[in-house]
Symmetry: D2
Subunit: 340 residues, 4 copies
């Protein structure tokens, strides 16, 4: 049994991690902490865990965490993670960080989009971007995983085959993204109050969202040249789920070839346990993946351009489920263990 | 034209008041204020008013309000109202207070349920409980209206005929009340965040809600003796509307008489513009009254007991619409003006 | 491995059963059928099962079902179940019927509330009402389980200790019940369209709902004398979950004893894996049990009366989860297997 | 007073029309009909109209309608309208048709997208596309108005200044549209049931929606050459409102000019009572226009391309409100009468 801890257990990602890990046969949760006023049973904080987990959630204290855990999940706001990671790594612990602190390899970009200094450049260098479908080999040996953001997970999986194989014009990518409200985290905010978000729908952070450089970075890696996407996120009046509608032009070399894009995607992902390519005219909806670790993708050929529709559960494949998938890979458990 | 002001324009009741008053042919909104960091156009705060009202919302300043207005609506949290009312009345202004500060005639009850001292006992004495269906005559000559709470408006209208006519056992009243989230006001609270309230339903403040003594007070007045109801409020995952399911035993004298309760209600309310008594088996739902100033009531005879189902829009008949109805009565405008 | 089949796989209960059984380590789903126009993969009907279950859903045909299965779940509309049960039992199959056909022991009551003749009185006699908390011993040896209705599961668990121990006046029980929309099943109906049910809340079938006699029957059994409850169901604008607020007077013998009702409930249910008694002032909400097989109950002492608040997930503890719990008991699997 | 009738009063657009017309000071509703089983009071069909309108809704019968009305609104499914229009026009009535029957000037396109023959080519020729912001002069003298579709109203208003002034590359228009569920009309459909649409979001009819040729037709008219947009509609889990996110490249001549697009829009629409251009960084949301006849538009300059975000209430500016606006123009009432 692997002893794991969660720092940041009080947020949505932390709560979801507990829920998933309680069903994982090779894991024991030995440590929970969060920035709370005083320690309490996790089942007091989340009554749904009553009778399932009798563990105290403490205030963060790294020495205790280091003593109790083999592997640590950080489900923390950005900047808080990078204060803790160096100590955990130094103590020999494996770390899966669900924050943004170790995702962007260019410090300047991080500092611009997160409006703060980066304090741990050394470990940033060693961190592995934890998208198993693209980085499985590196994840196996990693000490520090930067667990991808929710929007980027969906966007990168939807575009990777096209970009990697040079099938599209990478200057033309438009991502119209829609997310449920849990994507914003459990923080008080007037715009996220029930009466504000219910019966409403809105765009926000048009082309300035902090997940945009993350998408750009990973697609650039696949493309071999800088990629800059247009990225417009929207807030859906529902709890969980992301749907992205992606518009992209075919590359010049590809326009006349009659490529079967569905087949390209199926081949690219044919061994993946959590990517499902939908058939012609079979559009994925949020309901198909809510509560699961799947990413469902449909590709619609539209003459000179393609329309790709992809869905994930933002809290699972977009956060905690993917974190557990990374743990499974790092620990040589079956990759889907606890996730189906 | 009557010049009116709203202090507390930034809350849900204030916003709704503006919306209603903009359609009122005898009223001009001349003053808006709220506890905000700096003055701004009301159409910046609520973009839906763009092109409909170009008025600055200021920070509260009573001298200015007194200069600009004939009548003032206070859409403020409790305790804040009673600090302002004495000055407004002294300056000869008519005041309609949507807070709870002038509703409870017994100071002790107020201080117990609102956990604060009452600082304006004098004007409390003169205030009129602004439920037009029961107090129309007093409202006509009032200087200070205590606009009723949302739950009490619905409960009292649903029970008044039965209690006033001695048709039920007043010791047996059970009110199972359900309200949309706007009932809690526009204040930040974790339990009212979208992800918390959406796809959830819960009871709260069982038998300790501050609207219970208000219901007790008004029913006691009708009964001539103290009435104590059982009152359990619940939070519905929707924006606006209240439905109350009320259980009550018939009074001893009434059990065998074959009273037609629907007829009793229709007679009791036959001149009322905003109370609609539904026929046998025709149950009102929130959708029937949302966006209106109506209260719809159905009475189901169930042998020795009655089940009454009543609905209102908590922000209109339960707050701002009723406030305008009171204004119409005070100012001798047609009672339904601006409300149909 | 137990081979199980589901007849009625296309409804909400059938869909939920598949989801639960896919995570059950001792079960293999070998047969799915439903009243559909032509056979299709279950993953075409419900894309969320893609990659998890590659099984054709056929039209019902009992010979095939009998050949393929050891145990059969019937997730069918009432009247359809009782046409199939005799054949399945005759072939030696164990049957768990999620419809209402075998719940009511009095034929007359069934025929009155379901407006149809009962065609299988013989097996009705042998059926066991599948509420494990009260009937575990009988369930162990049963061939035919009448899986309880959703409202009754919640109501009976909330009242059983009080009625069984004579602590309350059984003539005074009022059940104000609220259910999410999936409780109505996957049938087309104008009142259940999104635009109708969203932002609405309504009572329906006041004191005439078909689950009322089921509650009466089981409470009467516990009481030893006929019990008639007042039962008012309401429709909540959410997908899944039931909350019932129950009002009951203490029995004469009990009024002055200072009974600790929370303790009574905890003792009554202390070995139960799926009943959680909440502490003083800790009110359960639908979110606490949604997606689980738990029933959470709070008891509020209110002088001469009690207010009990109970919640379940209508599709799990109120239908498919309880069906699997019954299967586990019948097949001597650990009772919570596949349900935690 | 103008005597108006509504044929198709039982649908969402019909219901909304009644609601708006009841507040219109120059109009009397003299006739309501719908395809119903037997005549009933409109307040029985929609209890919200109790006490506001005591009129029978009959089955359609044109002679009666012709006798009772000066102007007739048709809120009917397509194909039904074109059976009635010839008779109404022949009798000298003015007609505002909310269906699609008279919107598409090319018969072939109509017959392709609506899968039916067009039976009234003559009147199609004379019909006026009722978008007041572009066609006000023609509407004034029109006998037959083709009231625009909901998606097209929003899209055309959002693009008209750019296309009319040649500021964008008309081959590059991508419209990512999201609509609330009432957009689908009040028809039974499994995908529109509460449990299906709630907590879900999905794309549908990608590039094959029947509103796409309507958008193409009107933009082509403005452009002077054929325009073909990419159009992807999505279904939002809310009752009313449309938000469209539109991506378009600047035209060659325009790329380097530093055009202030907000100013362009403000000038283009400066006399319009129902179009509001938002300032830099001030993004419109559905809540800003729900319940109103406004269309709010924001333009975001993004280098070589523009992102336009526009919102309307699909039942008001996208249907019944616009129909009343057209009536006001035709009848020389103030254009905003009854709509503010």
């Amino acid at each position: 049994m692997l002893n794991v801890g969660i720092i940041g257990a009080s947020g949505y990602a932390g709560e979801e991690l507990i829920d998933i890990l309680l069903g994982h046969p090779q894991v024991r949760i030995t440590e929970l902490s969060a920035k709370i006023e005083e320690p309490c049973l996790i089942s007091e904080m989340f009554p749904k865990f009553k009778g399932r987990l009798d563990l105290v959630c403490n205030q963060p204290y790294l020495k205790r965490t280091i003593k109790n855990c083999d592997l640590v999940f950080l489900a923390l706001p950005h900047t808080v993670s990078m204060e803790m990671v160096p100590y955990l790594l130094k103590a020999g612990k494996r770390v899966i960080d669900l924050s943004a602190d170790y995702r962007l390899k260019e410090i300047k970009t991080y500092e611009k989009f997160y409006q703060t200094k980066h304090s741990d450049k050394k470990n940033l260098w060693y961190s592995v971007y934890g998208l198993p479908e693209l980085n499985r080999a590196k994840i196996k040996g990693a000490k520090l995983i930067a667990n991808p953001g929710c929007y980027p997970t969906c966007a990168i999986l939807a575009l990777a085959p096209l970009v990697a194989l040079g099938l599209v014009d990478c200057d033309s990518i438009i991502i119209d993204a829609k997310s449920g409200v849990s994507g914003a985290g459990r923080k008080l905010s007037e715009g996220l109050m029930f009466v504000e978000a219910n019966e409403d729908f809105r765009a926000y952070k048009v082309n300035i969202h902090q997940h945009m450089p993350e998408i750009n970075q990973e697609l650039s890696g696949l493309h071999g040249k800088p990629v800059k996407v247009t990225f417009v996120p929207h807030l859906l009046p529902l709890n969980r789920g992301i749907l992205e509608t992606i518009y992209v032009k075919k590359s010049a070399k590809n326009k006349k070839t009659g490529t079967d894009f569905g087949a390209v995607f199926k081949k690219f992902y044919h061994k993946e346990p959590f990517v499902r390519i939908r058939g012609q005219g079979d559009l994925p909806r949020i309901k198909d993946v809510a509560g699961t670790n799947f990413c469902d993708i449909a590709i619609q050929d539209s003459g000179d351009s393609l329309i790709i529709i992809a869905v994930i559960d933002n809290l699972i494949k977009g956060a905690s489920g993917q974190a557990v998938q990374n743990m499974n890979i790092m620990c040589k458990f079956p990759e889907a263990m606890g996730l189906l």
